[in-house]
Subunit: 344 residues, 2 copies
C-alpha cells in the first residue's frame, strides 16, 4: 500500500517545522498562517482524510464496539440489528467482538479499551465477575452493559425482565385453563436458568397453583437437549397440559417430541417459548413466545452510549425493558384446527 503521508512529509510540503505540524494536528494553539499551511499540505497529501490522523487530533476514533458471546445467537443478532443503524446514523462504525462464551475474552475486550481503538463499548457479559467489576471501574472509555450489574457499578445498564416475562406466560396458560404446567429449563448455574426457575415458582404461587418439582426438568438451552428433557418430563408426568420453555430452541425441541409422541399442540399440550426469535414464527405450529425485548435493549444501549459520548460525565443510568408475550398457534385456543400437513 506504499508509504502514506507522515508528519515529516507534511512538514516538508508545508515548509514548516515538524513541531508545528504536531501542534496543528494535536489541536494546540498555532499561528493562523502556520495552521493554514499545515492543513493545506495535509490535505494535498491525503492526510486529513486519514482516520488515524483524525484520531490523533481529536482523540476520537468514530468507532464503537459491540461484544457478545456468540454471533450466531438470534437474541444477540436482534440487538445487533438495532445497534448498527443507530450508531451508523450518528457517524460511528461498529466493531464486532464475539467472546465465545469465555470470560477471559470479555475481560480482554474491556482491557483493550486502553488502546483507544473505539470511543465506547456495548457489552453483553455472560455473567459479571469480580474481574469484570474491577475493569469496569477503571474503563478507559464509556461502557454500556446489557445484563445485570450490581448497584453502584459506574456504567450505564440495560436490563431485561424475565421474571415478569415468565409471569405473563403462566398467566396466559392459566387463562386457557391449563393447570399442569411444566417448566423445561436450562442449567440453574446460569443467570437465565436461575432467574427463570425462580420466576416460574413465584408465578405459580401468584396464580394459587402448587409448586410441584415433578413438573420441572432441567436440560440445556438447545433444541436436542431441550427435547430430551421434555421426553423425560412427559414420561414422568403424562397428564401435563402445558409447557413453559426457558427459550425458543427448547420449545422447538418440545414440539418435536410432542409430535413424535402423538400429543397434539396446543389441544393436548400448550407450549410457550422465550426470546421470540425468528424461529418462533417459522415453526409449525408457530410458537407463542415471551419477548424479552432484545431489539429494544439493543436500541436503548446504543442510545445510552451515544448520549454519554455527546454529553460526557453524568450519573450512570439504568433502563429496564419490559417483556411482552407474543401469542401464536402453540397456545391458540384448541378446537379450531387448520388442515394438516404431513411429514414422512
Amino acid at each position: 500500500m506504499g508509504q502514506g503521508p507522515t508528519i515529516t512529509t507534511i512538514a516538508q510540503r508545508a515548509g514548516v517545522s515538524i513541531a508545528s505540524v504536531s501542534r496543528v494536528l494535536n489541536g494546540l494553539p498555532t499561528r493562523q498562517e502556520t495552521e493554514r499551511k499545515v492543513l493545506a499540505a495535509a490535505e494535498e497529501l491525503g492526510y486529513v482524510r486519514n482516520a488515524v490522523a483524525r484520531s490523533l487530533k481529536s482523540r476520537r476514533t468514530h468507532q464503537v464496539a459491540f461484544a457478545m458471546a456468540d454471533v450466531g445467537n438470534p437474541a444477540y443478532l436482534a440487538m445487533l440489528r438495532e445497534i448498527q443503524p443507530v450508531l451508523k446514523a450518528a457517524g460511528y462504525r461498529l466493531v464486532l467482538h464475539s467472546t465465545d462464551a469465555v470470560v477471559a475474552d470479555e475481560i480482554e475486550v474491556l482491557h483493550s479499551l486502553g488502546e483507544r481503538y473505539v470511543d465506547g463499548l456495548i457489552m453483553v457479559p455472560l455473567r459479571v465477575t469480580e474481574a469484570h467489576l474491577a475493569m469496569l471501574a477503571s474503563a478507559r472509555a464509556p461502557v454500556v452493559i446489557i445484563g445485570s450489574v450490581p448497584e453502584g457499578t459506574p456504567v450505564d445498564n440495560v436490563r431485561a425482565d424475565s421474571r415478569t416475562g415468565v409471569r405473563l406466560a403462566l398467566d396466559h396458560l392459566h387463562a386457557l385453563g391449563r393447570r399442569r404446567i411444566g417448566l423445561v429449563n436450562g442449567p440453574l448455574d446460569t443467570v437465565p436458568g436461575a432467574a427463570r426457575g425462580a420466576a416460574y415458582r413465584e408465578a405459580l404461587g401468584a396464580l394459587g397453583l402448587p409448586y410441584d418439582e415433578e413438573l420441572v426438568e432441567i436440560g440445556d438451552f438447545y433444541r436436542a437437549e431441550g427435547g430430551r428433557a421434555v421426553a423425560t418430563l412427559l414420561d414422568r408426568v403424562p397428564d401435563l397440559d402445558a409447557l413453559m420453555c426457558a427459550n425458543d430452541l427448547i420449545a422447538l425441541g418440545a414440539l418435536d417430541v410432542l409430535r413424535a409422541a402423538g400429543r397434539r399442540v396446543p389441544r393436548d399440550v400448550a407450549v410457550v417459548g422465550m426470546d421470540d426469535t425468528d424461529l418462533a414464527a417459522a415453526s409449525w405450529p408457530s410458537l407463542s413466545s415471551v419477548s424479552l425485548g432484545s431489539a429494544e435493549r439493543g436500541r436503548a444501549a446504543a442510545e445510552l452510549l451515544l448520549d454519554r459520548l455527546r454529553h460526557g460525565e453524568r450519573e450512570p443510568r439504568l433502563v429496564t425493558v419490559p417483556p411482552h408475550l407474543v401469542v401464536r398457534a402453540s397456545t391458540g385456543r384448541a378446537g379450531a384446527e387448520e388442515p394438516r400437513g404431513d411429514a414422512p
Copy 2:
C-alpha cells in the same frame, strides 16, 4: 478521557527532538540510543499501547471490514459467523458495515478505504456497477468480493453456483417421480432471480422435461409474497406435484399456503427451498433446501484476505463454492408419515 500522550510529550519525556520521535514512530532509520529513549518514553506514557500510534508506526490497523446489505439476512449472518472467528484467530478485529441495499453506501465503504481505518475489506455487493469497478481498480486496501465480478477485476473473488444448485434440486424432485415441478421465483431483474430462472429452464431441459411457463410464478423473496405467488400458481396449475422455491422464505410461504389449501407436503406437493437457512430446519415439515455454501463462502473470503495481507501482491484468485442439497421432510418419501401435531 483527558489529554493522551502526544508526539510532543514523548519528545519532552525522552529529552529528544520531536523530529526524532516522529522518525522512530514512523519506523525510519534512527540512532539506536534515540530509538531506545523514544520507545521507553512512549511506553511510560502509555503511547505504545495506543492503537492509533501503532497504526501510524506500522500502517496497520489490525482491523478488517465486512460490508453486506442487511445485518438481518440469514445468508449474510452465516458468512459473518465464519468470517469473525477466522479473523479473530489471526488477530484482526472486525468492523461491520450494513449498506441497507444502497449502492451509494457500498461505494462510500470502498471510498473510505482511503482513510486507512482497516487493513482490508470483504464485501457482498448487491450488484457490481461501473462505479464499483472504478473504486475496486484503485482501492487503497485489499478487497475480497463475495459475488460475481467481471473477469479481470483486480480483486479476490468468491462465488456461489446457484445454477448447479437448482439442478441438484430438480434432479432430486425428478428422482422422486415428480414431473409437474413449479418455480416460485423472485424478481427477474435481480441477479439471483435471473440466475435461478435460467437455471430452472436449463435443468428441466437436461431432465427431458418441457419448459411450461404456466408453471412459473414471480413474487418477491419474502414469505408473504412467496405465499401469494404459490396460491396463484396452485389455482392455475392444480396438478403440480413439486415446487422449487428461489429461497427459504418463499418456501415457508409455500408451506403456509399448501397447508391452508389442504395439500399435504410432501405427499401431494414436494417443496424445496434455497439458501439452507436456520429457518429450514425449524419449520414443519422441515424444509429440504439447496445450500449455496454461505458459511464456506465467508470462510473462503476471510482466508483469501488473510493470505493477501500476509503475502502482499499476487494474481487475483477466484474461489467458487459448490452447492449441496440438504434433504429434509418436505421432499421426504411419501407414505412414511410421523404422527401429526395440530394447530388451531
